[in-house]
């Protein structure tokens, strides 16, 4: 027919015929009852497709020539369009189709089993009918209805479930929807429906979930419910600000916990225990972040900044961390494998990094290290050196050069002692055995020189050593640091029991007096030894007032040392140990006044550092305004401490005074470097 130019007639005839045929089909579909509706529709659709194929084959010539020329819709497409317009969009069918499809979904959601294959065919049909048919006729409504459904359900759940249960349910529903899509919906619907579920079930209730009493985020953290936390993380990740919420709540909880820990006076009494608690806290949260929060970097950062925040709330933190290290290096790490030692030291370094006042830590660390080295009480030389290396890596050579100097002195002293004994060994004979550590002044913590009169026996050998040393090292000055030494004394008590007493040098001086007298008053002891009052009192206290170590008796038996007390040699002293340690050499938490003093010294030390930074900056910039100087100085010094802007200002003025800088004539806020 086409060849004979009857294409138009053929085409329009096709249209008409098909249309009327389809109208009949519509009617029959409409007539179908209840459950059979879909079935009927499906069957008729399958038939139509088959028919279309045949028609297309038959009319292929027209399809290829007439239709393109006249820009008419190709046969197959025409067939689909007609199906769409006549059948599907026939109003009776359209609304019913939609309703049934949605009803099926609802039934499935409440647990019924539906014919998924049939659903699949229908949705496929809709997709085949054109890009927007699936969306407009089905998907749009599907999403709306689902939203309502989940809104209701989530409301129900949230009233009746605790957080963990709720999240489980939400997760289950999500998985169901994903499965549904894979079975009988367009894959592109997946992200849309999951969005709906997430919005209704998670986003709308996320605050309430997190804050839920007895089961919310905080409880999960405290009870270490990793699975629940992991689930919450995954679910909340899908909604905007979900993770932000978790992170914020967790962060403020950590901060509060930390703050409490740092301001609790009970906790602060034992520094080692306190630091251990900090480490435990960090471990706990690290574990949560790795196992439940997928090592999320933003959470790691939040944890770090929280720690940084509260560790610096207490100005004693640097001291305590050093005391913790001291305890470990003294005894805590005894018998521990090398690997585990490294682990502990790395944890210490982690805490160190959080400190704002690293220079304070340095001061205490130096003091404690000095005590450890001099009393020979370090558990492992390797461990000590390992920590120094870590500090050097973190802070640079300057930080550790003095510390390394201390180690060098110890080694050198060993050699010196060998030399001394080699040359003087014969002289000593029965006299006291002397062991000297020669300390280079700059490397060791500064100590004020104190008076102390050594017993005659000791003086002799000390002089011998001094002469020996100065003989080989000219131009040096030696001064005995009587407040840092120790002595081992062999003592015999009333019933002949012998003990070896390990005491401080001061204590040795006091005890030796009792070789010539049985009782001595405080004043007499003070006069002869010339030991400074507070040190003497402390020394006598540990000799006379401590149970198990009271080699002296005191009259009266009060707890404190008074100027009027009298001391007697305690004949009746017993101990089950042969060797008794009485010396107070271990590093201890400073008393308040001592702490103040150390603070003072730190502040004094900071002044030249600030000035050096100012001069460096001004030398480079030549001219700079006040606020920028403060910012630059702060930046330069931040690895050691946080400088106080008022102190910076004072240093600037001091530098103006000393003509390193001047103010600009016109602008007061501007400073100039004077070469």
């Amino acid at each position: 027919m086409v060849l004979h130019k009857f294409g138009e007639k053929l085409y329009s005839g096709l249209v008409t015929t098909m249309t009327s045929h389809l109208k009949e089909i519509s009617n029959s579909i409409e007539a179908a009852q209840g459950g059979l509706f879909l079935d009927e529709l499906n069957r008729k659709w399958a038939e139509h497709n088959k028919a279309l194929q045949m028609i297309r084959d038959i009319l292929m010539y027209m399809d290829r020539t007439f239709i393109p020329n006249t820009h008419k819709t190709p046969v197959h497409e025409l067939g689909l369009n007609l199906w769409r317009d006549v059948v599907i969009h026939f109003h009776a069918i359209q609304s019913r189709l939609q309703a049934i499809l949605l009803e099926n979904v609802r039934r499935e959601r409440s647990g019924e089993v539906i014919d998924r294959g049939l659903m699949r065919s229908i949705t496929k049909m809709l997709m085949d009918l054109g890009p927007s048919v699936y969306q407009d006729d089905f998907e749009k409504h599907f999403l709306e209805v689902s939203a309502d459904f989940y809104r209701l359900e989530s409301q129900e759940f949230i009233e009746s479930c605790d957080c963990g249960e709720y999240l489980k349910k939400a997760e289950r529903r999500l998985n169901e929807e994903i499965e549904r899509v894979s079975h009988y919906l367009d894959t592109r619907s997946e992200v849309k429906i999951t969005n709906v579920v997430e919005t209704e079930m998670i986003e709308s209730h996320m605050h309430r979930l997190v804050q839920m009493e007895n089961s919310g985020l905080i409880n999960m953290i405290v009870d270490e419910k990793f699975e629940d936390l992991g689930r919450m993380y995954c679910l909340f990740r899908q909604v905007s600000n979900g993770l932000v919420l978790i992170r914020d709540v967790m962060t403020s909880f950590i901060r509060d916990t930390g703050k409490q820990l740092l301001t609790d006076p009970e906790r602060l009494k034992d520094p080692v225990d306190f630091v251990q608690h900090l480490l435990d806290l960090k471990d706990k949260y690290d574990k949560i972040i790795t196992s439940a929060f997928r090592n999320d970097k933003t959470f790691q950062n939040a944890l770090n900044s929280s720690f940084e925040y509260f560790i610096n709330l207490n100005s004693r933190s640097p001291e305590f961390i050093s005391l913790f290290v001291d305890d470990k290096l003294r005894k805590g790490l005894r018998g521990v494998t090398e690997e585990d030692v490294e682990l502990v030291l790395d944890k210490v370094m982690m805490l160190f990094r959080y400190l704002q006042e690293k220079d304070v830590f340095e001061k205490y660390y130096k003091q404690h290290l000095a005590k450890r080295l001099l009393s020979g009480k370090s558990v492992s030389d390797d461990a000590e050196r390992s920590l120094i290396v870590k500090l050097k890596t973190e802070c640079g050579y300057q930080f550790t050069s003095k510390l390394e100097g201390m180690f060098t002195d110890m080694k050198t002293s060993q050699d010196t002692m060998q030399g001394f004994h080699a040359s003087h060994g014969s002289d000593i004979g029965d006299g006291p055995m002397l062991s000297v550590q020669v300390l280079t002044t700059g490397s060791w913590p500064t100590q004020p020189i104190t008076t102390c009169n050594l017993p005659a026996e000791i003086l002799g050998i000390c002089e011998k050593f001094r002469n020996y040393y100065l003989g080989t090292h000219t131009g040096r000055r030696l001064s005995w640091q009587t407040n840092m030494g120790t002595a081992d004394l062999k003592a015999t008590f009333g019933k002949g029991q012998k003990h070896e007493l390990n005491v401080s040098t001061y204590q040795m001086c006091v005890l030796m007096l009792f070789n010539d007298a049985d009782r001595l008053s405080y004043k007499e002891i003070e006069q002869v030894t010339e030991i400074p009052t507070s040190d003497l009192k402390r020394c006598l206290q540990s000799l006379a007032c401590v149970k198990g170590k009271n080699v002296l008796r005191k009259e009266p038996m009060s707890k404190d040392i008074a100027d009027t007390d009298t001391f007697l040699f305690n004949d009746k002293y017993t101990s089950k140990f042969f060797k008794v340690k009485i010396g107070t050499v271990a590093a201890q938490r400073e008393s308040e006044p001592e702490n103040q003093e150390t603070r003072q010294r730190v502040e004094e030390d900071r002044k030249p550092q600030i000035e050096a930074a100012i001069v460096r900056i001004m030398k480079a910039r030549r001219v700079l305004d006040h606020n920028n100087i403060v910012a630059e100085v702060t930046k330069q010094l931040q690895s050691r401490f946080l400088p106080n802007p008022v102190v910076i200002k004072k240093r600037i003025e001091s530098l103006i005074e000393r003509e390193f800088l001047e103010r600009d004539k016109g602008d007061r806020k501007l400073y100039r470097y004077l070469a």
């Binding site: 606020n627 008022v646 200002k649 004072k650 003025e653 103006i656 005074e657 007061r668």
Partner: protein, 254 residues
């Protein structure tokens, strides 16, 4: 004078009061500047600088001999006291500071011969009479803002001990009382009290010069005080002191 209009008459009067010039000079200056006072001042002071070429060195020598110390070639305390008597001026009078400034004197209570000559020549003085006549002029210089600043800053170096970098607190307070009596700074007494109570140390040059700026630019109720203004820390502490003690409250100065 009766030929002048009211406005011009007032100006002449004002000019004479401020500069201490004679009526003739006043008229001359005002006419030259078209009856603008500012211009007249410039003209008048400009004139003064030409005068030094008219001083007689011999007379100056005589004057110097009168006051110089018998044993040293300098004018010392006694000489200065005598000079003040001759001028009928109190030795504590601030005009003596102005004199010292003209002389570029290095330290208070003594003048070298060179300083004496420099100063008097700059002022066009070679006799006691002329010296007395110049006193009003010198007083007027204190009213000029630029000159006051120079004199104020000069005072620091002049009042401090030779060889010291800073100015002793007592001396500083004395100088401030003197200088701010001219300048009228309402906070001067509080400032001195504050220093005695809280600071008790010498005053640095920077603090000295910055204080004048503070007095000039910041109002007594501290309304325009800028904490970020890079004021010396002593001044920051002073502000704190004023606030703490309720001297400044809610932007009101009591």
């Amino acid at each position: 004078m009766h030929k002048l209009g009211r406005g011009h008459r007032d100006k002449v009067q004002q000019f004479m009061t401020i500069t201490g010039a004679s009526e003739k000079l006043a008229l001359q200056a005002l006419k030259a500047s078209d009856w603008h006072l500012e211009g007249a001042f410039d003209f008048f002071y400009g004139q003064q600088s030409h005068i030094k070429s008219y001083t007689n060195t011999t007379h100056l020598e005589e004057l110097y001999k009168r006051y110089k110390d018998p044993y040293t070639d300098m004018i010392l305390v006694d000489g200065i006291t005598l000079l003040c008597n001759d001028l009928q001026v109190d030795p504590q009078d601030i005009v003596m500071l102005v004199v010292s400034w003209h002389m570029k004197a290095s330290t208070m209570c003594e003048y070298s011969k060179e300083e004496f000559f420099t100063g008097l020549q700059a002022l066009g003085i070679d006799s006691l009479e002329k010296f007395r006549e110049r006193i009003p002029f010198m007083r007027s210089e204190l009213k000029d803002e630029q000159k006051f600043r120079e004199i104020y800053n000069f005072a620091f170096g002049w009042a401090k001990e030779k060889g010291q970098k800073s100015l002793a607190l007592d001396t500083a307070i004395g100088m401030w009382q003197l200088l701010f009596a001219e300048k009228q700074w309402p906070l001067v007494d509080h400032w001195c009290q504050f220093l005695q109570a809280r600071h008790n140390k010498a005053i640095s040059r920077d603090t000295w010069s910055q204080l004048l700026e503070f007095a000039r630019t910041v109002d007594p109720a501290l309304l325009n005080y800028d904490a970020e203004g890079a004021w010396p820390y002593l001044i920051d502490e002073f502000v704190e002191y004023l606030n703490e003690n309720g001297i400044i409250q809610n932007g009101q100065f009591k």
